[in-house]
């Protein structure tokens, strides 16, 4: 049972979670959504959030899921990491996603949602002075990502371009 405590924590769309080494954390099928990993490697703690939209101001309903938006989700993720014992000055980030899955001739705001999500994520991370050490964003491929808080490596899998570690 040496590897008994080792597991993969799965994060769904518009959700977030925290993991401690040796476990890893994963989210699948990122299209225009952005997967943001914020971690403190010295403590072996990482958080992952699967963001759908840049800005919570568009939310029209009363109760909202804060993990859906970059501007509310990233502060919440950082708060959760600190509660779990991460040092805020040691936090680093790696991000992936924000693709354009369909090529349309018209280009309204929804079509450009991938790049807008990436911009909003980077702006939030900058606000908290968290350096982005690696980034695999844009393009037109879906991505599945898995982060290992022990090694600090982000594994990225696509259908058409194989697998890589960042």
């Amino acid at each position: 049972m040496i590897i008994g405590s080792q597991s993969v924590v799965k994060v769904g769309i518009a959700q977030m979670d925290i993991v401690k080494a040796p476990s890893t954390i994963r989210t699948s099928g990122l299209g225009s959504c952005v997967g943001v990993v914020v971690y403190d490697q010295s403590k072996g703690i990482a958080g992952l959030i699967h963001i759908m939209l840049p800005d919570s101001k568009v939310a029209k309903s009363g109760t909202m899921n804060i993990a859906k938006f970059a501007d509310t989700g990233i502060p919440a993720l950082i708060e959760a990491l600190k509660k779990a014992g991460a040092s805020s000055y040691k936090l680093k980030a790696k991000i992936a996603g924000g693709a354009q899955m369909f090529q349309f001739t018209s280009s309204n705001d929804t079509m450009r949602i991938g790049p807008r999500n990436v911009e909003a994520v980077i702006e939030q991370l900058r606000k908290y002075m968290i350096p982005v050490l690696a980034q695999d964003t844009g393009g037109n491929s879906g991505r599945t990502i898995e982060f290992n808080p022990e090694t600090g490596l982000l594994n990225i899998r696509t259908v058409n371009q194989g697998v890589k570690d960042l």
Partner: protein
């Protein structure tokens, strides 16, 4: 969306029925084979449940997507598992070696797939329009070959601004000649915007 009852969901089933029946007839004519359809599923699901439909988040599919404008708005997907998409395209372009994930004859095959999505979504939506009397204008469809979750989540973006749930009208079609085990389903997913339900129900005489 809170006051939608099971009766309303049944009415929406009729939309899936009529739309998919027309699309199945069109596909049957195109491929000269018998196409059958299942009873539509109409459900209110979370985004997480939506991306897990039809084989799971990471299943590789060919998906055509179009947006609907007019009296009712929303998004519409026609999703085929990659093997089934290849099978259909091979028959359409009469090239047995065709594979969407390889480079041979890609341009012709992709355009055949796009046209297939265009014809099927078009017959679905024109049946819907005739049935409800609503004027709906689809955008030209776009094609993507990728993970199901990455494709379908794009159709949730617009909805996600107002809700954490989606009402999906899910109808699957399959080739009648295949055995139960071989049957690979094609799915039509109609995802109306929340504001459009009022117009749809009104058009069908349901309050």
């Amino acid at each position: 969306m809170t006051n939608i009852t099971s009766f309303h969901l049944d009415v929406l089933k009729e939309i899936g029925n009529i739309g998919a029946a027309h699309a199945a007839t069109a596909l049957s004519g195109l491929l000269n084979t018998k196409i059958d359809m299942r009873v539509p599923a109409v459900e209110m699901v979370s985004f997480e449940e939506m991306v897990e439909r039809g084989g799971g988040v990471e299943q590789v599919v060919a998906g055509t997507y179009l947006q609907i404008d007019g009296d009712a708005e929303g998004g519409m997907f026609f999703i085929l598992p990659i093997e089934q998409a290849n099978r259909f395209i091979r028959r359409l372009i009469q090239d047995e070696r065709f594979d969407l994930q390889k480079q041979n004859n890609l341009e012709l095959g992709v355009s055949a797939m796009q046209e297939l999505g265009n014809i099927l979504s078009g017959s679905y939506l024109s049946a819907l329009s005739d049935f409800t009397g609503l004027k709906i204008y689809p955008t030209p469809p776009a094609l993507s070959v990728d993970m199901f979750g990455a494709i379908i989540s794009f159709g949730l973006i617009e909805l996600s601004q107002v809700s954490d749930h989606v009402i999906v009208i899910d109808t699957s079609i399959f080739e009648e000649t295949m055995t139960e085990a071989e049957q690979v389903n094609g799915h039509f997913f109609l995802l109306p915007n929340p504001e459009s339900f009022k117009a749809i129900f009104k058009a069908l005489g349901v309050s």
